[in-house]
């Protein structure tokens, strides 16, 4: 009979959360560091353009967090970004770079706008889910196409999704421009206003905060559960980590990436919908750039649902603060895109350093050596330990 002591449940439980937090800390810190670097670099750009960065950033901060309305506005701006960022994360976990979030959001917004402009007199609890479903289906299809194309033909998703973005814009422009369609208003380049029963209800009087934020947070929990607590999520993560290992384990790569892209597009479609039937009350046919911002959200959130929520809030704060910055400090709000670019650049650079360090540590451990951080950072080559003296 085996008498080996088993690790007690209590012991494991006590250690796990702590080690988890400690393990996540460098990631969180490096994301924050990336944002700090981006703000610094953005400050240099502002200074070079002949303005003073500090008051600009103060205005940015006030616009994002200074008071009830500012915070509500930050949440409003964060809503589509969280959904889009979750979409990016799901695709990334499967090893795909979904640059087509923009097109998926456009079609999601368009279909939600059309469904919400239609007025058959349905009650809220039927009509609103219907509008959201329309957006999810539209976005899902637009995500599934590049997924299935990659699975069947190997066509690179970055190229196909870029093309699908422009096709989505075309579809949107064509539909919105139709004079014979009662659901659209070509002169305004928008759909007709959403009926009340198909709009996301307002959460806070005197602000623009709508129920979309609840949808986004719910989606984050669902995505987390799906990725880390279901077989489907396990398959997605396995495929993303190693296509070969997944095949060896009997996981169908093609089916998994196609479904992951479907889910990714679905989430992005909902992201487009919350802006249309939550914020604006109708869908406007303009290039929003939300899809590109969502990519940054996914990258900064490290493709982790919780991280994506945090990153979404951060970028929501940037977007809402930028309006104040423009009005009070006279800094064009397009600086936000510059900041976004800097965030992406520093995140990708930091990720490389982290990977490098990790592999150095693993190499030293594998060779039975102690990891000397100072020597590593000084760039000294790894030296094998001298062989133990032979005793005869």
């Amino acid at each position: 009979m085996s008498t080996l002591p088993r690790p007690t449940e209590a012991g494991a439980g006590a250690v796990r959360p702590l080690t988890r937090i400690a393990g996540a800390l460098p990631t969180v810190l490096s994301s924050l560091l990336a944002v700090a670097i981006a703000l610094l670099a953005g400050g240099v750009v502002i200074a070079l353009s002949g303005q003073t960065p500090f008051p600009a950033y103060v205005a940015l901060f006030e616009g994002a967090f200074g008071g009830r309305r500012a915070i509500a506005e930050t949440l409003v701006m964060a809503t589509p970004l969280i959904l889009g960022g979750l979409g990016f994360a799901v695709a990334s976990r499967a090893g795909l770079f979904n640059i087509g979030l923009e097109g998926q959001m456009v079609l999601g917004g368009l279909c939600a706008g059309l469904a919400a402009a239609w007025n058959p007199g349905l009650p809220l609890y039927v009509h609103l889910p219907l509008a959201l479903l329309a957006a999810a289906i539209a976005g899902g299809i637009w995500g599934f196409i590049p997924g299935i194309l990659k699975a069947k033909t190997g066509a690179h998703e970055v190229i196909t999704t870029i093309m699908l973005n422009y096709l989505a814009y075309r579809i949107s422009t064509v539909v919105i421009g139709r004079e014979d369609l009662v659901l659209v208003n070509p002169a305004l380049q928008a759909t007709q206003p959403a009926v009340d029963n198909a709009s996301l209800p307002l959460l806070l009087e005197g602000t623009r905060l709508h129920a979309g934020i609840l949808l986004a947070l719910l989606a984050a929990v669902v995505v987390w559960f799906l990725l880390y607590r279901t077989v489907f999520g396990y398959k997605i993560r396995t495929v993303g980590l190693s296509q070969g290992a997944a095949a060896y384990a009997g996981i169908s790569w093609g089916r998994t990436i196609a479904l992951a892209m479907l889910l990714s597009g679905l989430l992005a479609g909902l992201g487009g919908a919350v802006d249309a039937i939550g914020l604006h009350g109708r869908y406007y046919n303009v290039m929003l750039g939300l899809g590109f911002t969502s990519i940054a959200v996914g990258l900064v959130g490290r493709n982790n649902p919780f991280g994506v929520v945090m990153a979404g809030l951060l970028f929501g704060a940037l977007a809402s603060g930028a309006t104040r910055m423009q009005n009070t400090a006279g800094i064009a709000r397009d600086i936000v895109y510059v900041l976004l670019a800097f965030v992406i650049l520093s995140v990708s650079a930091l990720a490389v350093f982290q990977q490098f360090q990790q592999s150095r540590r693993q190499t030293t451990r594998a060779r039975g050596m102690t990891y000397d951080r100072a020597a590593d950072e000084a760039g000294e080559p790894l030296v094998e330990p001298p062989p133990p003296p032979r005793t005869i």
Partner: protein, 293 residues
């Protein structure tokens, strides 16, 4: 009457294709050396802005063009630093360059000229007749030059080696990083000149996001042309023809849906990368570093 429209349609096609050819030849060089280049769109925008800014402050469009070349080289250098030296994900870095191009140019437009959306008008590059400017023949000259460089010169063949099998290139002593840097910087310069073509060649001012996806269409032309210079030019001409046709459909009374024509480049590229028409063969080492498997 018909011949008038034919000439107008022909020149409009050439005019629409030229900026695409500039950016496509840049993208082709970069991808042939193994660096995936979705940054073209951002680099084109930077060039379009730099050309107008340079012209505005100096009064000469040729100085503007020179500024665009310098800015394009700088943009290419940043992209190369990330994708070659730092070995960051090339698509992530490319996305950042696109956003940087969009953000910097629209931000600076408002900060420099105090109005959102567009710059004041500036002087244009001289024309050579029929609304074509001096850069147009340069674009078409670039095609044989690119072909000659890639297939007939030693450095060009080395560039291809870097793109097809970086480990092997490294093993025979080719400095893969150096060649990739050179090609990515060249792509920055060419895309930037393509942008300048739009802002101080075709038009005479900068407007926010004026490239409107032409960088991505140029990338599509590279892929549709299967990474071959002449074929990429053909694709650029086809896409340019689609753009030009938009404005002539009504005048010619052609029974073609305008929306389908506008969507044509995207649809064709989508079909091309799936290999349904013919096999699409990107450089084998695209996106891979020299020291990984």
């Amino acid at each position: 009457m018909l011949s008038f429209f034919s000439v107008a349609l022909l020149t409009a096609t050439l005019r629409s294709a030229a900026p695409l050819i500039f950016a496509a030849m840049g993208g082709l060089l970069s991808e042939r050396s193994g660096v995936t280049n979705i940054a073209l769109e951002g680099l084109m925008l930077m060039g379009a802005f730099a050309a107008v800014a340079g012209t505005y402050f100096s009064g000469s469009p040729f100085v503007g063009l020179a500024v665009a070349i310098v800015v394009g080289a700088l943009g290419g250098f940043v992209f190369a630093f990330w994708s070659v030296t730092l070995r960051a994900d090339q698509i992530v870095a490319g996305t950042a360059i696109v956003l940087l191009g969009l953000g910097l140019t629209s931000f600076l437009t408002e900060q420099v000229w105090g109005q959102a959306g567009s710059s004041p008008p500036v002087e244009r590059l001289p024309t050579i007749g029929l609304g074509m400017n001096v850069l147009l023949p340069v674009a078409f000259l670039l095609v044989p030059i690119t072909h000659w460089f890639l297939f007939k010169t030693k450095p060009g063949l080395r560039v291809q080696a870097c793109g097809e099998k970086p480990e092997a290139a490294q093993a025979v002593g080719i400095d893969v990083g150096k060649y990739r840097y050179a090609m990515v910087i060249a792509s920055g310069v060419l895309a930037s000149v393509g942008g300048a073509y739009l802002s101080i060649g075709d038009l005479s001012q900068f407007t926010t996001n004026m490239t409107a996806g032409r960088g991505f269409i140029a990338l599509a032309a590279v892929i549709f042309g299967n990474w071959m210079p002449w074929a990429a030019m053909g694709a650029a001409l086809l896409f340019g023809f689609a753009q030009a046709l938009r404005f002539h459909v009504q005048a010619l009374g052609l029974p073609i849906n305008q929306d389908i024509i506008i969507a044509l480049p995207y649809l064709l590229t989508l079909i091309a990368v799936t290999g349904l028409l013919r096999k699409s063969t990107p450089p084998a080492g695209l996106g891979r570093h020299a020291t990984e498997g």
